[in-house]
């Protein structure tokens, strides 16, 4: 099965849960077991963050995670190996979440083939908007990888149409204005965003940014095919005393989100 198809098959009757965690946290050696713990708790697929020096779309928690992972030696090869290892051990579709500059420096086709070779299913690049993404889209297509495209509450209907026409593996719906981070309540924009996407396409819609509690996840579960949670998980790892404690905390957090979505 291609990466693209594996991502699509993660969407079933219940709203799918895609946990995000930075690769190399708390250390490269302990990273994969954290994903395994989340798989045991019912994660349907993963976003693995490739640590980057200038994560523009990320708030302080994920920035901190990125900084720690980089300092612990999570370079490109180490991070992509973690993507592959997580895919192999969990059997779930794994998407690399990276910023555009490291992909550009590697080369669009080289990056796509490096990722596919290791068993990655797809790629998410938050600073690569639709109109700049044709080269990476072609490289992904050649490797069977799924590229994700974004929509946000400010995206026009016409642009949503163009995003849908690109047939991404899924559409990442940014629920709230702003960077990644926890929010005290769900953004009022979600319902209309979901409605506007659904009116135009059957491409799966996955909501992310600012979904921080199982209760919040429950309120959006009927508005989307999937939900991404990130900051809340990274924070648990940063707060944990060691990797074993982090695995326990992540497992129970993911189980709670999973229950809220089913």
């Amino acid at each position: 099965m291609s990466g693209f198809a594996a991502i699509r098959s993660a969407f079933g009757s219940a709203t799918a849960l895609f946990p995000f965690l930075t690769a190399g946290l708390p250390t490269p050696a302990d990273s994969v077991r954290l994903f395994e713990a989340m798989a045991e708790a019912g994660a349907d697929g993963f976003e693995v963050g490739i640590p980057y020096s200038d994560p523009l779309m990320d708030g302080p928690v994920i920035m901190k995670g990125s900084e720690i992972a980089l300092a612990a030696g999570t370079n490109r090869a180490v991070a992509l190996d973690i993507v592959g290892e997580v895919a192999k051990r969990t059997g779930k579709p794994v998407l690399a979440m990276t910023y555009v500059n490291p992909v550009m420096q590697t080369g669009w086709t080289q990056y796509a083939s490096d990722l596919a070779e290791r068993g990655g299913a797809g790629i998410i690049v938050p600073d690569l908007p639709l109109q700049e993404s044709s080269e990476l889209a072609a490289a992904c297509l050649a490797e069977g990888l799924g590229l994700v495209q974004f929509v946000s509450p400010t995206t026009t209907d016409a642009r949503i149409g163009r995003v849908a026409d690109a047939n991404p593996a899924f559409i990442y719906g940014v629920t709230d204005m702003g960077v990644t981070g926890e929010r005290t309540s769900i953004s009022p924009h979600v319902a209309s965003l979901s409605e506007r996407v659904r009116a135009q396409t059957d491409v799966p819609l996955v909501l992310g940014v600012g979904i921080s509690t199982p209760e919040q996840a429950a309120t959006v579960k009927n508005l989307a095919d999937g939900v991404i949670i990130g900051t809340v998980l990274v924070r648990k790892v940063l707060e944990a005393e060691n990797a074993a404690a982090a695995a326990v905390a992540l497992k129970s957090a993911v189980a709670e989100f999973k229950a809220a979505l089913s």
Binding site: Y52, S53, L56
Partner: protein, 393 residues
């Protein structure tokens, strides 16, 4: 005349291979609206007239083109200084800040944010915001807050809030990132007055348009004789593009001066064009200081305004096409140029501007007998502490 000057970037915001909008989706609609609104405003005679009135009556333009006779004599080069240091608030940054603040008011947004390195753009934005009744917050790295303390006080006195940015190196790059993060959240009510010719489209183009008055005035002031060489320092590249763009239509040799910091060989510098490779930073494709894996590296310069690992995309284009030459001078050379200008002409230049001047004194032999125009982008009051400290060590 040099062929290939681009009046404006293409529909995707590209200057050749550079530029574009590598920004989060949340910002894309706002960037599109900004491009449209700027275009409308810039073609609106009323808007332009208002901008020009502010430049004349508030900023104090035109700024003089001053012949530095004593220094000319000692260097053997006829040296002309474009006195942006005499613009209100003490640097060229105000040309852009006033322009974008007027645009903000036209768009009906009540709040502006800015990043600042040397503090000059922060002061200019705080000034424009006060004058036009806009709320203003300025992001500034903690290292820069320390080395440009005077400007922090000025911004606060002008009614703006200075928000410290402590992650990363605590310098300009981090301040830009944090301002962008703010903007992703607040774009409905806020305009981001970016301080240099960097960032996603339409910023590099818009900032150039608001700064081209520098070069246009020079052409008028020079008259038919022109000059042989025109030199400006390049941080993000706004004073330099403002000077160069109108001069691209002439035979004048154009030279942009980057920060060589402690020396290009030491790796501690801000010379993105000379020592960097193309990549994406802050929403634009341009020359960038980065490692093999595309992680952005920290820049180093004694001057906070040149301490940036990227550069405006139009400079990347001008470099590749050979229309402008780029060179670099070190911290020490810039410090010497501060002394030189202060003592021979009674003008204390900003450390940034001193880089351009240092290149002239360094190359005086090759420039002998020529007329060289230097963009004196700002005054040096803000740098006194840094200069004193460098003496002590």
């Amino acid at each position: 005349m040099k062929t290939g000057r681009l009046e404006r970037p293409d529909a995707n915001g590209r200057f050749g291979d550079y530029g574009g909008s590598f920004a989060p989706e949340t910002l894309m609609p706002a960037l599109g609206e900004l491009a449209d609104e700027f275009e409308r405003a810039w073609n609106d005679p009323d808007f332009k007239a208002e901008y020009e009135r502010w430049l004349a009556n508030f900023v104090g333009r035109p700024t003089p083109l001053f012949e530095a006779r004593r220094l000319s004599e000692s260097l053997g080069v006829r040296l002309l200084l474009k006195r942006e240091d005499l613009a209100h608030t003490g640097a060229h940054k105000i040309n852009n800040a006033i322009g974008q603040a007027l645009l903000t008011r036209r768009m009906g947004k009540p709040r502006v944010i800015a990043e600042t390195g040397a503090g000059q753009h922060g002061v200019a934005t705080a000034t424009a915001a006060a004058a036009l009744g806009l709320e203003c917050q300025v992001y500034m790295g903690t290292v820069d807050i320390e080395r440009q303390a005077l400007n922090v006080q000025r911004m606060e006195l002008l009614g703006s809030e200075v928000i410290p940015v402590s992650f990363g190196a605590g310098t300009l790059k981090d301040a830009v990132s944090e301002a962008m993060r703010d903007w992703v959240r607040t774009v409905d009510t806020t305009h981001y007055i970016i301080g240099s010719a960097v960032g996603p489209h339409p910023f590099p183009w818009m900032v150039r348009e608001f700064q081209r008055v520098i070069g246009e005035e020079c052409l008028t002031q020079l008259g038919s004789e022109l000059c042989d060489v025109a030199v400006a320092c390049v941080g993000g590249g706004s004073n330099s593009i403002g000077l160069f763009y109108p001069l691209l239509e002439t035979e004048i040799e154009l030279v942009g001066i980057e920060a060589a910091g402690e020396g290009i060989g030491t790796g501690k510098h801000g010379a993105s064009i000379i020592a960097g490779r193309p990549g994406v930073l802050h929403g634009t494709r341009t020359y960038l200081l980065q490692d093999d894996e595309g992680q952005v590296m920290e820049a180093h310069s004694i001057s906070a305004g040149l301490d940036y690992p990227g550069v405006g995309p139009e400079h990347a284009y001008l470099f590749d096409s050979g229309m402008v030459a780029y060179e670099a001078v070190t911290d020490l050379e810039a410090l010497e140029a501060v002394d030189l200008l202060s003592r021979t002409e009674g003008i204390i230049p900003a450390l940034e501007s001193a880089h351009a001047l240092a290149w002239v004194s360094k190359n005086a032999a090759r420039l002998a007998g020529e007329t060289v125009l230097v963009c004196l982008s700002g005054r040096g009051d803000k740098d006194l502490q840094t200069i004193a400290r460098s003496r002590a060590t």
